[in-house]
Assembly symmetry: C2
Homo-oligomer: 375 residues x 2
């Protein structure tokens, strides 16, 4: 039932405690040894021991001592987020966004390359190369300095990092993104669907930070969903979770049609609706009804704590959120909190970073991984 708890060696215990110390330091700025001990539950002596080892291995650095208080000032230690770098890439219809982030997940450099939905495979891949190369160059690094890469793209992705099916982008089905990225940066490459990554990002740094179960709705020219269940991204058996749009009665297929029918330019039906224009108001109402139908199916299935709406249309929160909430209320047994994405345009790429960081952390925990740094 539950995976093997394994147990094991003494050294495993040390590993566990080392990870606990790192997690305690991460994001907390700098801590004294006493702080570390309290947060990890270790004794002060052991905390010191672990920190010394991490210091030696390059995971931790000394920060300025405490000042002000009475008594001997304590040394402080911080996680060396700059010990390694991960790459995040969002490959969309209109833009390629590549970022280089440190081990805290803070973005150091980012390059955006505009593309068009009609672009072919080679052209698009070439744009990816440029974006990534731009990041590396700005940081004065090479591909070899990257510890892991995360990539987000539209369409279904298989476990090995190939695009299995993409309707939105031409010539995109069958691209082996993992292999392509590995040519630039030889570290492990994780490829994932963009809605799923946006969901991950919202749970990490967005409005769903404290939700364990969350449904992310991608509302834009495409409609999609990403699920976080029990704090983890839910992929499904063949990485095809959240594809509720395939069921016609749930409305996602026809949802956008209401909008494009209302105005030639799909662009600003929302603005028109906001201004009170009759046809636009109707179109938006119908769109929301259809969006809510599929969303209700997800909510009823999973009973999440929160629904987060992202994607291009999330800029029009004022005319979307309240009606959506009302529609959900109509169908759901318990309507979850409904929130607008806080990450906007960068949700996918942040999710890609998180994916890469997860991979790094897993390897650290295993004891393998690129620890034993260049010291």
């Amino acid at each position: 039932m539950t995976g093997e708890p394994s147990g094991g060696d003494l050294s495993r215990l040390r590993q566990l405690n080392a990870v606990a110390v790192i997690k305690a330091l991460q994001g907390q700025g700098a801590l004294t040894l006493t702080d570390v001990a309290r947060r990890t539950g270790l004794s002060r002596a052991s905390a010191e021991d672990v920190v010394r080892e991490l210091l030696h291995k390059g995971w931790v650095a000394e920060a300025g001592a405490t000042a002000g208080g009475v008594g001997r000032p304590a040394r402080r230690y911080r996680f060396r987020a700059d010990a390694g770098r991960v790459l995040g890439v969002d490959i969309g219809g209109h833009k390629i966004l590549a970022v280089l982030a440190d081990l805290d997940g803070d973005v150091q450099h980012s390059v955006r390359v505009p593309v068009t939905p009609g672009m072919g495979r080679l052209e698009r891949l070439e744009a990816v190369d440029r974006a990534v190369a731009g990041c590396l160059e700005a940081a004065g690094l090479t591909g070899a300095d990257v510890w892991a890469s995360g990539v987000g793209t539209t369409g279904l992705v298989d476990g090995a990092g190939r695009v299995m099916l993409s309707e939105a982008l031409p010539e995109w089905t069958g691209v082996d993104l993992a292999a392509h990225l590995r040519r630039i940066a030889p570290a492990p490459v994780l490829v994932e669907n963009d809605s799923k990554l946006a969901a991950l990002a919202e749970c990490w740094r967005g409005v769903a930070r404290y939700a364990k179960d969350m449904v992310f709705l991608l509302a834009g020219l495409r409609t999609g969903a990403g699920l976080v269940i029990d704090g983890k991204l839910h992929r499904g058996f063949a990485n095809a979770s959240g594809e509720i749009g395939a069921l016609p009665v749930l409305g996602w297929i026809r949802a956008q049609e209401h909008l494009s029918a209302a105005s030639g330019e799909a662009g600003d039906v929302f603005a028109a609706a906001r201004a009170g224009e009759r046809a636009a108001v109707t179109a938006v109402r119908r769109y929301v009804k259809d969006l809510a139908l599929g969303a209700s199916a997800l909510v009823l299935a999973l009973d999440p704590q929160m629904v987060v709406v992202g994607g291009g249309f999330s800029r029009s929160a004022d005319v979307l959120i309240e009606p959506l909430r009302r529609e959900l209320d109509r169908w759901c047994i318990r309507t979850p909190e409904v929130r607008m994405s806080a990450l906007g345009d960068e949700a996918v790429v942040l999710g890609a970073v998180r994916l890469a960081l997860d991979d790094v952390e897993e390897r650290v925990l295993d004891g393998r991984g690129p620890l034993v740094s260049h010291l």
Copy 2:
């Protein structure tokens, strides 16, 4: 993101290894120390140490030595499944089923008390009492010997073990089942929705034994669902997952109506259909169409490895399964394996047992719990 890995004490390491040894022994009959060492990854010396401790605490007993082979015959040890007992109860419309199981989850005694859907609260609870008392009596035990109880019932259940909403049973909303059961057996009581428990049971001892993501369909006079995600029962934020039936377009509300419309007695439309009777065949076809619609929503949302069909109608697998598979194929991107439940009538109560065992194991792992047995 990931829950605290905590790390911790030396004694925690021993706990971990003790649990590993117990898991190795459980279900495996009897093992020699060398076997235990190999399975847990511990050294033989340590394995011996752990086993000695478990022996002393009453978790493990010596079994007959090996015979036949060359060399000194090894002692063999087995998990003492009889060291404790858990209770499982299924409270349904037509029957109350109570079982007493050992720590391996093997049922020792079971008592079935017929009830009617129309029965009031007190009468039903009284039937529960009789079923449970019957089990305990047959085993020559008292409520104090029970380490944990699991209870399954229709309707929504809150975290504290109260029924929050039940449409099928009269006067059932608001019953505090946990409190009621605790009066009989003072150990912890876990209460859960019956579809969810059936799902759990199928993943444990049913046809979904090796599936990590699974959707269970309860097909009977009521229609319901239970989800197992990543090997764990998915409850949702307010324990209301799987309630896809609330969405009218997904057909579960009207599904059974087709059947009851076809024959006065809802009972054997399936038999009639099997015999080729025109009206019945149509009714079943419509029923399956509606069932499949809601099921497709779940499958598309989660992309599970397997769909398991249980509930009263699962006896009519021959006229259900194939059409259901075809309908799913029509809507789903990737149609999962579709299987009929192997546990039938006892799925819910087995799930209840599993729930109780999970609780026991958790407490064992924590080191609290009723270990240090009566030795």
